[in-house]
Subunit: 148 residues, 2 copies
């Protein structure tokens, strides 16, 4: 009888190495597309999370961004200064605040999103259809893994 656990583990280790390297490199390439309205990566990331969630409290946004609340206070402060985000009081809890992107904030996000996809989409368009099909399936699997 074979040792499926052991061999699965070895395959997983090997795959983890190459996959992580590829992901890291890709991320660097994609992230170089930045200078949209002078926003820093941290500000863009926070704005993105806010855009995807619709509205969040500072605490929730800090959790999503894996950052401590005081750090998020600073970042949100910058975004608010630029009019990209608005703070409104929580309807029932006086301690809390609701953060939401403004209309300009949503526009900046959309512009950034498009720019950021451009390079990757160019690369993908140049692939063979079979390779793209593999990546379509892989993207689903990776989404699932990332959510775990």
């Amino acid at each position: 009888m074979e040792l499926p656990v052991a061999t699965e583990r070895g395959a997983a280790d090997e795959l983890a190495r190459t996959l992580r390297e590829a992901i890291q490199r890709l991320n660097r390439r994609v992230r170089q597309t930045r200078p949209v309205g002078d926003l820093t990566p941290g500000q863009l990331s926070a704005l993105t999370s806010l855009q995807l969630a619709g509205a969040l409290t500072p605490r929730e946004l800090a959790d999503v961004e894996r950052v401590q609340p005081p750090t998020m206070t600073k970042i949100v402060g910058k975004l608010e200064e630029r009019g990209l985000v608005i703070r409104t009081p929580h309807p029932t809890d006086g301690r809390q605040v609701i953060l939401a992107p403004t209309e300009p904030g949503r526009a900046v996000y959309a512009q950034f999103e498009q720019l950021r996809n451009e390079w990757l989409a160019d690369q993908l368009a140049a692939l063979e259809p079979e390779d793209r099909a593999v990546l379509v399936r892989a993207a689903e699997i990776l989404q699932q893994v990332a959510r775990a």
Copy 2:
């Protein structure tokens, strides 16, 4: 007659969106594994580049890390303080300096590498073999794209 270019472009755009989202999330998860010898992400990244290249001048390392030379001076200074990197004079050009990881530097890199792979390998080991096979092929394609 169909419009292969247009449809390929649409498929590539769609794929770019989901793939980038998955990659971004994965990268965040993987990057949370950090605290190896108190090194910050910037220090780890520089040490990794140095380890992969063997030896580089500060200028070269700054280029690889997509950072300005003064920034790299600071980071290398920290790594040198901890004995993870060594500066030696360039054999023929008195202006330049050669940076290389020390033995402890290589050890820290290896330890970090292993830690960083662990979480991802765990996730991958839990997948169905078919899914893992898809990712093996996808990793190759993504490596190729990242190098482009």
